[in-house]
């Protein structure tokens, strides 16, 4: 009960203090706001690249064309081999007749040409489409399939896929690095801003010590204050991101430049981003206050 009362008072005092030291609070809040805005942009970029990468990765398929006159038992053997390969996510066998049907359905020109082909005359190949779990393994798996007896040609968009993988990887690393660096910089920036706030309140801390407040008693209101500053600082970035991203999303109809690059739908993505921003703001505010007040508790 006593602990609850003290805790409640700490929250009340922290809240009061934010408004009583308004100009300094405003400095801390704007500092948090500005950095969180940049963090928000990085997070949005990061998740969209992530999403785009995984979409592309899902689309990349290895197509293995089988030998012309392959026997059914040989096909079964290849299928079993592919099934047991570790990096394979799924595979799909298409007989040359199936492929013929599909092509005929897709266009009337094909239909005119192909309708008279008997099963023996069909020049198409039986094929197996393979999707891989990890796009970085695609090269190795393609090679393994190609080496199998009964497989004549393997295609997976060589060259282009490798380049894409490299580009995604770079963007990925850069955005992660950017977000981490920004969070660290924000934490120290806020810590220093709050240090100025606390410096002007050294007297308050001195009096608290004098009347018998324990170090924890002194720290908690300041840390709570950091929490409030962080939360207030996150308000504008959250509103700006939700509004801004939703507008951009609708303006571009959910895709950037081409249907190939799809943006993440604002819901629930924006809720996550808001929560992340609020969380970063609060943690960074609390850390900053804690780091700043620590200095004044030594005698």
């Amino acid at each position: 009960m006593k602990a609850f009362r003290i805790f409640g008072r700490n929250i009340r005092d922290a809240f009061k203090s934010v408004f009583r030291n308004f100009s300094l609070s405003l400095a801390s809040i704007s500092c948090i706001t500005i950095t969180l805005l940049v963090v928000a942009v990085s997070i949005i970029l990061f998740y969209n690249v992530n999403n785009f990468t995984s979409l592309v990765e899902k689309d990349v398929t290895i197509v293995a064309f089988l030998d012309k006159n392959i026997k059914q038992d040989k096909i079964d053997e290849i299928e079993t081999k592919i099934k047991t390969m570790s990096g394979v996510a799924s595979y799909d066998f298409r007989s040359k007749d199936q492929i013929k049907e599909e092509m005929m359905e897709s266009s009337s020109d094909f239909e005119n040409i192909m309708k008279d082909w008997s099963s023996e005359e069909n020049p198409l190949y039986n094929a197996i489409q393979v999707k891989v779990k990890d796009i970085e393994q695609i090269n190795k798996i393609a090679k393994e399939i190609e080496d199998m007896e009964g497989v004549s040609i393997v295609k997976y968009g060589e060259g282009m896929v490798e380049q894409l993988i490299g580009a995604f990887d770079a963007v990925h690393k850069i955005t992660i690095g950017l977000v981490i660096a920004l969070i660290i910089v924000t934490a120290f920036l806020i810590s220093n801003t709050i240090k100025i706030t606390i410096f002007s309140r050294q007297r308050e801390i001195e009096i608290m010590r004098l009347v018998g407040a324990s170090n924890l008693n002194i720290k908690i209101p300041f840390i709570m204050e950091g929490l409030f500053l962080g939360a207030f600082g996150a308000i504008i970035p959250i509103i700006a991101t939700i509004y801004g991203y939703t507008t951009i999303y609708h303006h571009f109809n959910g895709q950037l430049f081409s249907p190939f690059i799809k943006l993440l739908a604002p819901s629930p993505f924006m809720y996550y981003v808001s929560l992340i921003l609020l969380g970063i703001g609060i943690l960074v505010g609390m850390f900053g206050s804690w780091r700043a007040v620590r200095k004044y508790l030594k005698i």
Binding site: K2, A3, R5, I6, R9, R20, N21, R203, E204, E206, I207, M208, R209, L210, V211, G212, A213, S214, N215, N217, K298, I299
Partner: protein
């Protein structure tokens, strides 16, 4: 029974200045003691050690059963809760009302609201400021601010009240009013140690008076025996 006991206490600052030399002293519970002496004689160092703002270099200081020299930084608050301190510059929170300033020292204990309210009102009544609970320090006179500081220092019923030149910024009349408040607090059982430069107050109050010089006790006048021998 002794509330404060110093045995062979020495204090040398990092700068090499020795402020207190081999001092032994005891102060009984319920006493009212003046500490006098010229500037730099060690008065402030002595009381700072009593509330553990400074640590003795050697020797032992016991305050209310606590060995002050051995108290760790993190435990200082335990001593502070048994002691009230009043300063020349009042040290009030400028952005808090009279009521909040006094209630502040009870809130850190986690007392219930009603209890805090009744204690604060009672102590503000004692110092004669009940009608100004909603004022801010800047709206009060020096004497009134000092009363708030005294109220804050005694609201949790400390055994010891340390006053560092509480009348230093006040005119003679106001000073005497403050002294009456302190005398009343002393009569209610709180031990008081007061540092002062104001000999007229010492003469009028007729309390035990200790004169310091160069970090030593020059003279310890028992109650009512003080004579002004400074010149």
């Amino acid at each position: 029974m002794d509330l404060i006991r110093l045995r062979d206490v020495k204090k040398t600052y990092k700068t090499g200045v020795t402020a207190i030399q081999q001092m032994s002293l005891s102060i009984e519970k319920g006493d009212f003691v003046f500490l006098i002496g010229s500037t730099g004689c060690g008065k402030s160092t002595l009381i700072k050690m009593l509330y553990r703002e400074e640590k003795p270099t050697s020797g032992q200081i016991i305050v209310g059963g606590i060995d002050v020299g051995k108290l760790r930084n993190g435990k200082v608050y335990k001593l502070r809760r048994k002691i009230g301190v009043v300063f020349q510059d009042f040290k009030l929170l400028p952005k808090a009302t009279v009521y909040e300033n006094v209630a502040f020292s009870l809130e850190v204990f986690g007392l219930p609201k009603d209890e805090i309210h009744s204690k604060v009102i009672k102590v503000l009544e004692l110092v004669g400021l009940k009608h100004k609970i909603k004022n801010y320090p800047r709206q009060l006179s020096g004497g009134e601010q000092q009363r708030v500081a005294i109220a804050r220092a005694i609201v949790n019923g400390p055994k010891l009240l340390i006053c560092d030149e509480p009348t230093g910024n006040l005119d003679p009349n106001t000073s005497m009013e403050i002294m009456e408040v302190l005398d009343q607090i002393n009569k209610l059982g709180t031990t008081i140690i007061m540092v002062t430069h104001d000999i007229s107050i010492v003469k009028k109050m007729k309390k035990r008076t200790i004169r310091l010089q160069s970090g030593r006790i020059l003279k310890d006048y028992a109650k009512g025996t003080f004579k002004d021998e400074s010149i």
